[in-house]
Amino acid sequence: MLKLTTKIGRAILDYISYFGSLTMLTANAFKDMFTVKKQTNIFKHLNNIGLNSLPLVVIISIFTGMVLVMETAYTLKRFGAEIYSGSIVSVSMIRELGPVFVAIILAGRVGGAIAAEIGTMKITEQIDAMEILAVDPVAYLISPRLFAGIIALPSLFLVSFFLAITGAALVGIVLVNIPSGMFFYQTFRFIGPRDFVIGIIKSVVFAVVVIAVSANEGLRTSGGAVGVGKAATTSVVVSFFLIILCNLLLTGFFYFI
């Protein structure tokens, strides 16, 4: 019984310690984002996080829009309400699926790479070397990535939204035979500026989650190549979990206010 209690207690302490270090890292990265003297890496990270993720976002968004229209039109047709399928795509993409999809793409494509890169730097003493050269690794490695993520993810989300609508329109107008005027009227009828703001806020939060989690995993890496692999995997898994959790909390928050 005592052993079990000890195990549970230790697990709880580990979680508290993990989220404590994650919070501290995020706070320090935010602080250094505005105080670091030279941020020459930002464009490189913007390119890596934003532009290089674009092809994947384009394909996934168009296909998602197409699939959503097909699925919703199939059901709504029974009630003669297939003209509303565009509305369902727009509402779900702008508030839920858009930010979550883009964040998951970012976690898989960029988060794992960040954890692996920083983890490798950690085990090959490059992080120590940086500290000895009186350069703060958080300011040098993480703040520019955080800044780039906060710019890139909402931008990708907006691109993703409009591409999903394009994909939905292609299927809705050409295959389901919804008149184009009606399709676009219904698509934008139920969404407003508030929905865009909610989508952008969610994207910013998810960007912070993905970059902070992957950087934290990288900095905690130990144990050689196996440790680097573990850090990359853990960063993706924890990011996915936190994206879904944060989405739930934010959706609840915006629903009730």
Binding site: K37, K38, T120, T124, D128, A129, E131, A134, V135
Partner: protein, 247 residues
């Protein structure tokens, strides 16, 4: 004689394993101290501890007369800007070219132009015998070259103390000899205090003013090479010397 580093009753423990157990050590300004000891005895840990990279369990560390343990991040950064370190793995930044690695300190701490930094880098690379390598990436260099670049990076800011962690480990005898000569030349030129951790007793005999032996988490012997050679009864020191004589 001015103490530039002072360690008092240093204890370090990883999980349940004690690494350093009540270690005391003073380093005098201008001297070259070599630390020897068997693998895993805590030599590298000691270097990193002095620079505040590894927290201590108990004790007091003073660097340039300032306390290291328990001090603020900014203060530690300020103290670190006065030292240089050559890592066992060289620890060059993979994504940066040779000139960016060597000029890293200047790039991040000064308002020097790229032209000025490149010029300073070229000058120190020439001293290292590494001209015309400035635009290569670390992956394009051999182990010995990386070590030279690492020494250049540590020396470019003209530090008051330089730490060498196993500078000749993993190098062939010719390259090891060349690095040893480089360390001696640089010491003559810059007159920097140096602390070197090594297994290489030949290197220790050539560069040291004093040699300290770490055993069981503490300094068990300290003195000049000759003093240890003549007076030491320590089995570990004897085995080091026998290994050297066998060479």
């Amino acid at each position: 004689m001015e103490k530039i580093i002072s360690l008092t009753d240093i204890w370090i423990q990883f999980s349940d394993t004690p690494i350093l157990q009540g270690l005391n050590l003073d380093v005098i300004k201008g001297e070259s101290l070599v630390i020897v000891g068997s693998s895993g005895c805590g030599k590298t840990v000691l270097l990193k501890t002095i620079l505040g990279l590894i927290p201590i369990t108990k004790g007091h560390i003073s660097l340039f007369g300032e306390q290291v343990n328990g001090t603020s991040k900014n203060k530690i950064m300020e103290l670190r800007s006065r030292v240089g370190m050559v890592f066992q793995s060289s620890a060059l930044f993979d994504s940066l070219t040779v000139w960016e690695n060597v000029g890293f300190y200047y790039l991040n701490h000064t308002d020097m132009t790229e032209q000025q930094i490149r010029s300073a880098v070229r000058e120190i690379l020439a001293e290292m015998g590494m001209e015309n390598f400035e635009n290569l990436l670390p992956e394009q260099l051999s182990g010995g070259m990386k070590k030279r670049i690492s020494i250049a990076r540590a020396l470019i800011s003209k530090p008051e103390i330089i730490f060498y962690d196993e500078p000749t480990t993993g190098l062939d005898p010719i390259m090891a000899d060349s690095i040893t000569k480089l360390i001696i030349d640089m010491r003559k030129k810059y007159k920097t205090t140096s602390i070197t951790v090594t297994h290489d007793i030949k290197l220790a005999s050539r560069i040291s003013d004093r040699i300290a032996l770490i055993d069981n988490g503490t300094i068990t012997e300290i003195g000049t090479f000759e003093e240890l050679r003549q007076n030491s009864k320590n089995q570990l020191i004897k085995s080091f010397l026998i290994a050297e004589e066998a060479k």
